[in-house]
């Protein structure tokens, strides 16, 4: 009841606050690190960058390093939170996260093989994307009946068929992963483990960062267009269908969106955990369950969470860098538990 009453007052305000938080965390991410930049220098370097002038100052150098990483962090967080929010709604299961359908498992396996073969960052990202695609194809092949049925049933078995198939693909990936890890040469094991924990250390390419941000934007818009339909599908396929939603097509389209989102995020930063699960939950507690509001808000919150966690990871034990995935859970779990305790 309280959630109901408070849900409407400030949907716009919540989005504005999240946008502001994104801006502030971006500023923080650019300023702080093993070396901090003053606000004035940052502004100067930013102006240089925007005007296309080659800066030679320390600030310009640091900006060129930190901006792609910050952009990638935001895109990764946004994509994972979007994917998690979509899957929790699509599968009507609050425990779902971006990794539940095994897409990231496929990506991780392929990435580990690439690292094992000594590939560079771009090749790792590319092979992770290929692995994600392979896992998605496997899901579509195996859960064919549930995903392509002409029959709109009350049957909740459809969701569990997709979910269980995904869990099986994830388990299979985990098995292959442990084989690869146990056979990998010692010298590469550390890189592999860091990658599996979720790590933005390799995110130095401005082009990949721009690509990731563009992917986030496009997938976010595609998902938003289907958000009203998804809202009805929360109440079951039969009800949504009789109210005018082509449920089978919407489900298929959105599962592809989640797979691309998860695959892109995992390819860029490894398996960053927790954010895709927790961001939609936190948002839902404030805004209610309607995907029209949850999707954009969760996306923004995810971007902020990963960016803040990565900034803290770079600063906390500088010059050592802590994996963003671990920090995310360290920051996020207490927040989430505090939220759960609230009446």
């Amino acid at each position: 009841m309280t959630a109901m009453a408070s849900s409407g007052i400030s949907r716009r305000a919540v989005l504005q606050v999240l946008g502001l938080a994104a801006l502030l965390s971006l500023l923080g991410a650019l300023r702080f690190g093993s070396v901090s930049i003053g606000a004035g220098e940052l502004l100067e370097a930013s102006v240089d960058l925007v005007m296309g002038r080659d800066g030679t100052s320390l600030a310009a150098t640091l900006l060129a390093l930190r901006l792609p990483r910050a952009g990638t962090a935001m895109a990764v967080g946004g994509l994972l939170a979007l994917s998690g929010a979509l899957l929790q709604s699509l599968l009507r299961n609050p425990l779902a996260d971006p990794y539940v359908l095994g897409v990231s498992g496929g990506a991780s396996c392929a990435a580990m093989l690439a690292i094992g073969a000594g590939a560079g960052a771009a090749a790792i990202a590319l092979s992770a994307a290929g692995g994600a695609l392979l896992a998605l194809s496997l899901l579509f092949a195996l859960a064919h009946r549930a995903l392509f049925a002409r029959d709109v049933l009350l049957d909740p078995g459809k969701d569990s068929a997709i979910l269980l198939t995904g869990v099986m693909i994830a388990s299979l990936s985990a098995a292959v992963l442990s084989l690869v890890l146990s056979l990998a040469p010692d010298g590469r094991l550390r890189t592999m483990v860091f990658w599996l924990l979720g790590d933005l250390g390799g995110a130095t390419s401005p082009m990949l960062a721009a690509l990731a941000l563009a992917t986030w934007l496009v997938l976010g818009l595609v998902a938003q267009r289907d958000a009203p339909a998804l809202n009805l599908m929360l109440g079951g396929d039969l009800q949504a269908y009789t109210q005018g939603v082509p449920t089978t097509q919407v489900r298929r389209r959105l599962i592809i969106v989640t797979a691309i989102a998860t695959g892109t995020a995992v390819a860029l930063a490894g398996a960053v955990g927790f954010v895709g699960f927790v961001a939609p939950h936190l948002v839902r507690r404030v805004l209610g369950a309607d995907p029209r509001h949850v999707l954009p808000a969760a996306s923004l919150l995810g971007a902020v969470l990963v960016l803040v966690a990565d900034t803290v990871g770079r600063c906390a034990a500088a010059p050592l860098q802590l994996p963003v995935g671990a920090l995310m859970a360290l920051i996020g779990v207490p927040v989430f538990i505090w939220q759960l305790q609230r009446p």
Binding site: M1, A3, M4, A5, S7, G8, I9, R11, R92, N93, P94, R150, D151, V152, L153, L154, P156, P228, A229, N231, L232, L234, G235, G236, L238, Q239, Y241, T242, Q243, G244, V245, P246, R284, G288, A289, D290, R292
Partner: protein, 258 residues
């Protein structure tokens, strides 16, 4: 006579290998209220799903408002028929008002009161809630309603969809005696609305329906005016139990004797 709103020819409904309804020919004219009567598992819900277009028929054709059902788009169909199912899935917190407004998806005006959604849609949603005696629940979370209340909210949502045809699957199964009558009367009072509903309560069916379709569960069926079809002679073999009829004032009351 105007063409029927819904007509079936040679319709067959199966559940796995069992044939539930065979070669059904049915004409439902606008404004009629049909009840589906039959024992458990006779195919009432299955037939409703087929008529709703949610499940393909094994055989036969269904024509809705002059156009074969298969040629209707999902969205246009939603403007013509609504369906009240007999179970609901509420995984996350949603207000009753939003649940009713969501039924207006195809009209794109159900965005919600506080979201600046159309005031007319909200007013209509509240009218529908009031017709189902649950306006007081408008701000409540659907997950915290009793089953009877949740069922009336689902009925209100179907009314808010503003369709000519409403399919009902056990619409009063969770209602107390007062609300059983109230719900059926409110449905009946909506001018021009056509209903096809599965009902287990023969007495409620007899009061509500203009027509009845008896389903035996083995393919056989009987259709006709409720006054001629709903009699002890047809109902007793249908339910394989002795059913008698007594007059109680203006009403006929059926008694089953097990």
């Amino acid at each position: 006579m105007s063409p029927p709103l819904l007509s079936c020819r040679g319709l067959e409904v199966r559940a796995g290998r069992r044939c539930l309804v065979r070669a059904l020919d049915l004409d439902v004219a606008a404004g009629q209220r049909w009840v589906l009567i039959g024992p458990n598992g006779a195919g009432k819900t299955s037939l409703l799903l087929v008529l709703a277009g949610a499940r393909p028929a094994e055989q036969g054709t269904i024509v809705l408002a002059g156009t074969p059902l298969r040629q209707w788009s999902v969205e246009h169909l939603a403007g013509m028929r609504a369906m009240v199912a007999d179970r609901w899935i509420d995984p996350f917190a949603t207000s009753v008002l939003d649940t009713v407004l969501a039924a207006r998806y195809r009209l794109h005006d159900g965005a919600g009161e506080r979201h600046g959604g159309a005031g007319a849609a909200v007013a209509l949603a509240r009218d529908c809630l009031a017709a189902m005696d649950c306006l007081a629940l408008a701000g409540r979370d659907v997950r915290h309603l009793s089953r009877g209340e949740r069922q009336r909210v689902a009925l209100a949502a179907a009314l808010a969809q503003e369709t000519a045809l409403v399919l009902l699957d056990e619409p009063i199964s969770h209602q107390d005696p007062r609300h059983q009558i109230q719900v059926l009367q409110a449905l009946q009072a909506r001018a021009g609305c056509t209903y096809i509903g599965a009902l287990h309560d023969i007495n409620a069916a007899a009061r509500f329906a203009t027509h009845a379709l008896l389903l035996y569960g083995d393919g056989r069926w009987v259709a006709g005016c409720s006054g001629t079809v709903l009699t002890p002679d047809t109902l007793s073999p249908l339910f394989e139990t002795e059913i008698t009829q007594v007059e109680a004032g203006a009403h006929r009351v059926f008694l089953s004797h097990g």
